[in-house]
Point group: none
Chain length 296, copies 2
DNA sequence: ACGCCGTTGTCAACTGTTTGTCCATGCTAT
DNA sequence: ATAGCATGGACAAACAGTTGACAACGGCGT
């Protein structure tokens, strides 16, 4: 709780400028005493300091202020294997373990739960029958408020790392071949299903390049051109992913009319301008893509 | 988010020429303020730098522009281990390999380059002396237009997966202990340094939970409450990360006044309301944190 | 060789905007 | 009393924007 003079001394910003920033950009809104005197708290000091360094970094004061004011976090889950909020599918033992560990934000327990899941049979069956259901259960629990974003974050990040390990471990069997590109449209961050599919492709002996989440349209285009790819597979997990995916498809069609462009994921069926739609279970998606490649 | 003056200084292209290039070739399309002032983002800076180098290389401005417009993406690099655009540090053999592989968007080559890097001595030395420099070189190459976002994406995603593997492989030695929380403030996606630090903590025998990128304020708070943590470490890699980090700090301070809150990263020194600032080389950061924990 | 012409970087003129600072006046705290 | 604070307005200097012009340069046809 500081007066404006103290705030000025603590931030190195002149008193007049403090008032100007408040008046012009609303960067802080200090509480007032009965007489109208400004009283700054530590959060206000922090915001002012952030403003100062941003400006020192070359930002225009207006932009810096906008950035600071708009830095309020939006909480959304990273999982979203399936956006369908329906059918509470039977929670397996493994998924219950993962959800409970996530609820406690208990790192080691999350790892143990993933150990259990990844120990279930072949990679493809494990992903389809255990990992994805567990992640859906996690998303549901988050939606019901039983798991906090922190737990959801930690668990899905850990699952993503595991999947990444599997992807790397799968090697690139057909390394000489032209690869299949797998990635997500701009704005989409639902990596897990896409990375799972890319891994399954590799395990099936195909060469796969995983582009990652939130891939800009231009990057799809240049990636196709540079790498001389056999096909591009775009993940469309939620309805919000659709416009981005459609834009990617038209951009690719435009410059590579003969390229095989496939889409997969819950909302892919609704994108009719793709070459093909991949079915849902991982194994089926892989065989479908293989058939498409042989035909072309 | 820079004014035209700042953009000019950062790229070494005169203000008049910036406007001419925009008007004549549409090489950038900065957003405008209400009053019509141009606001350049980092992607625009990258495009301008790329243009400058191409022209310096003898390309005609028109051709250089055509090349950039058709190639460059509008997205940010994921790397950003270090936001300082200066001091072109000596490229090691390994970083050159990674940059070249990324330039070709060549998945297998990227993996091989990372194999080379990860084979360099102890984890900590490898990260400090080879991985981070390589990623900085990658970001620089992106800024110069030598690497497309697709390649940057692919390479940094692969590096992130490797780091994730190392994190998991490091196990959680002090599994019973209260953990140290490591994560990034809301809005920040510069995972690599944070995950590297979390891994180093585990390898030093401490219990570490990695929260991930873009962690909302509320998640930080609940994570601390649920897990009974010993300390929270927040990565502050760029000036833009500061407001979010400051908000996280005040929120945590508010409800857990005794919690040890440490910040690390290029711009962490400017956040004086944290309990402690962690120094730069990985090993030093780990020992600094260990000392802080013993004191408390 | 010569003139023509498009390209390209730079400049000037003029208008409007942003931003840090300052002032006059009046109230408040000690 | 004296120093501190608030408000609102005012200002100058720096910044930006647009338009049009212009000189240097190189390619090209004659």
């Amino acid at each position: 709780m500081y007066t404006i003079k103290e705030a000025s001394q603590r931030t190195g910003v002149s008193i007049a400028l403090l008032r100007a920033w408040e008046r012009r950009y609303g960067i802080v809104a200090p509480v007032r005493t009965e007489a109208g005197y400004r009283i700054y708290d530590d959060a206000a000091i922090g915001r002012i300091r952030a403003m100062r360094t941003l400006v020192a970094d070359g930002w225009s004061p207006r932009q810096a202020a906008a950035n600071i004011v708009s830095t309020q976090a939006k909480d959304f889950p990273l999982t979203a294997v399936d956006a369908q909020p329906i059918d509470p599918r039977p929670p397996t033992e493994q998924s219950r373990g993962l959800v409970e560990a996530a609820a406690r934000v208990d790192g080691p327990a999350i790892e143990r739960a993933l150990d259990d899941i990844f120990a279930m049979g072949s990679f493809e069956r494990m992903v389809d029958d255990h990992l994805y259901p567990a992640l859906v259960a996690l998303g549901d629990a988050w939606a019901r408020g039983e798991v906090d974003v922190a737990g959801e974050h930690a668990a899905s990040a850990a699952a993503l790392r595991r999947l990444g390990m599997a992807f790397d471990a799968a090697g690139n069997a057909g390394a000489g071949d032209a690869p299949v590109l797998v990635g997500l449209p701009p704005g989409s961050r639902h990596e897990l299903p896409a990375l799972g599919f890319a891994t399954a492709l590799r395990r099936a002996g195909m060469s796969a390049t995983y582009l990652g989440p939130d891939v800009p349209i231009r990057s799809w285009v240049t990636a196709v051109r540079q790498a001389h790819v056999r096909a591009a597979v775009i993940g469309v997990l939620t309805a919000e992913d659709m416009p981005g995916a459609a834009a990617v498809i038209t951009a690719l069609r435009d410059r590579h009319p003969d390229l095989l462009i496939a889409v997969g994921g819950r909302h892919s069926r609704e994108l009719s301008d793709a070459s093909a739609h991949l079915p849902d279970p991982l194994v089926d998606a892989v065989t479908a893509l293989r058939r498409l490649l042989q035909l072309s």
